[in-house]
Symmetry: C2
Subunit: 338 residues, 2 copies
């Protein structure tokens, strides 16, 4: 039975009892990989990706037919503190752009045959300014987790989640600082392009948020509630649901990874069904991936969000699976082994 | 009129009079890029790739509809010296595998809707062992350049070339050593997986080749003739033809890049229509790309050849062009600019 949750404590419990990868499918995929017409290891990380994917979807010779991309949008009280180069109304304007098919993520989803869904989360009701107290009540945070949880298409065979929310590199940096320490300066960056003064404001807001929400520091899910935002909580909910359904996930950039970090901090194995799709240009992303033990598939200097980096990596993963499942073996092709 | 050549000197002349990118298309693409609904620069290298591609195909808002992948296969006298982990008959066996659709490049070409052509170049007549003298006569080298030149589909809007040839990391290393110095040890690597003894044999063969063909060192095309092989010359011919036709090219790994280096050494601008698709696991590839001033799009630890890394990058380039040509502008979408 699919688990359910009404509180953050219920949600934490789900994270303590997550399903594992399928060892038989993994063994089948490794066996097949060793017989394909190529020198051992010659497809490099494509081989690792194929075996990882096979182990989660439970087939030694899988296909990718139905990738799903879901964008969650949210607004943030901290945006009023001048932490972004763009005004807050752009969150909703970009939601309209997603719905009209005009954004980068629309083009990338189409290019790699992924279904794209967009969920705007109470945009007229920004979260509270976390530098003055908790961003969300438990009820609000659970509702956002559920929005993510329910957004996953159970027929998807690959899941990507992205976000839109003016100002949301600031809550992402605050979450990273709360979970991993090092102070605000280690985690804030230029986001969509703030100047030096904007960067200083971001650091000050994050420091204030850490101080104001000191009580939350003992629990990663409380960190998400007090320093996060609806789209971050929704991504965490969706990534968890994908795991419960054994759907592999490609993590997008800094904000998506910060949301995922909350899961990792709650249960160390919680991200085993995920790969880091890309290394963002947001400076702290590299450090955040290191904390999670993840190595990015792509490094293209993206810093757009929307799930764009992860959607781009769908193409690479499709290439990996096409090789793994489509190539002939040495025996089938009559090719001499080394 | 398309140029023609009957000698290496004719071919060198073509390289001195190559067409440039289209400056109007480049300006159009840059202008469009600045208006798209994203923060400036937020698509990172995808933006650079889109502008580069636009400038070569001559349209500020291009599409990629007809990529072509061409594999050239050749056999090498030096293979008898034990420089590969695989026996020479595998070259022809793999050609059959390409023709039957069973190799990695077949799957990747299909995944990214590229046409795949395979040209086996006199497999029953390996080039001479270059450690004892020139690998090819001028007639043989010109014939191989022409095989490449004539293999380019003039209706292609993106070109990828790859190779199959047991032992061919050795001629590639010899070419690199001849063009850029540093000695054999700086350029030989494990290829498809030779052991330490095999690696030492490769270095010795390359050193002998450099000494035996000292007369060739003054001319990059003579280096190609004396130290290269048919599939390397064919790739050089094809990359040049693509340039003459203003077709953008994605360079594959170490061997393809070594072939391309001959063009660069002859005319410094000869590779402006190319991008380095990936960084190979073959250790010297990074150094070779540095010599050409190229930064790889992907770094996946591939070391297979066949054009596999470049074919994988077709997906990334398609994503870049989909964003560039498909996204709405700020004005179209009614989104507030920064």
């Amino acid at each position: 039975m699919t688990p359910d949750f009404e509180t953050l404590s219920d949600f934490a419990e789900i994270l303590t009892a997550l399903p594992s990868a399928n060892p038989a499918a993994k063994a089948d995929a490794e066996d097949r990989n060793g017989q394909l017409t190529k020198p051992p290891g010659a497809l490099g990380r494509l081989e690792d990706l194929a075996i990882w994917y096979a182990s989660w979807v439970g087939s030694g010779r899988p296909e990718i037919k139905s990738p799903q991309v879901v964008i969650f949008a949210g607004n943030h009280g901290v945006a009023a503190a001048g932490v972004s180069a763009f005004p807050p109304e752009v969150t909703e304007q970009m939601v309209f752009n997603f719905q009209a098919g005009g954004a980068a993520i629309n083009q990338l989803s189409k290019a790699f045959d992924a279904k794209l869904d967009v969920h705007a989360l109470d945009l007229d009701r920004p979260t509270a300014d976390f530098s003055k107290g908790p961003a969300m009540s438990e009820t609000e945070c659970v509702a956002a987790l559920k929005a993510g949880w329910n957004a996953v298409d159970l027929k998807a065979d690959l899941f990507v989640t992205g976000e839109m929310g003016i100002g949301n590199t600031t809550p992402a940096a605050a979450i990273a600082a709360a979970l991993f320490g090092g102070g605000a300066d280690a985690w804030v960056g230029r986001g969509t392009g703030v100047d030096d003064a904007g960067l200083a404001r971001k650091a000050a807001v994050v420091e204030a948020g850490l101080a104001q929400n000191a009580d939350a520091m003992g629990s990663p899910l409380d960190v998400l509630r007090c320093l996060g935002g609806r789209e971050l909580a929704a991504m965490a909910g969706a990534i968890t649901r994908a795991r419960v359904e054994s759907i592999p996930v490609l993590l997008d950039g800094f904000i998506c990874t910060a949301a995922a970090s909350v899961l990792h901090a709650t249960a160390e194995n919680a991200l085993d069904h995920t790969q880091a799709a890309h290394l963002s240009a947001e400076g702290a992303h590299s450090n955040l991936l290191d904390k999670l033990g993840k190595s990015p598939i792509l490094s293209m200097g993206l810093r757009l969000g929307e799930g764009s980096g992860a959607a781009l990596a769908i193409g690479v993963l499709k290439g990996a699976i096409a090789c793994h499942s489509g190539m002939a073996t040495f025996a089938e092709a009559g090719v001499s082994d080394a």
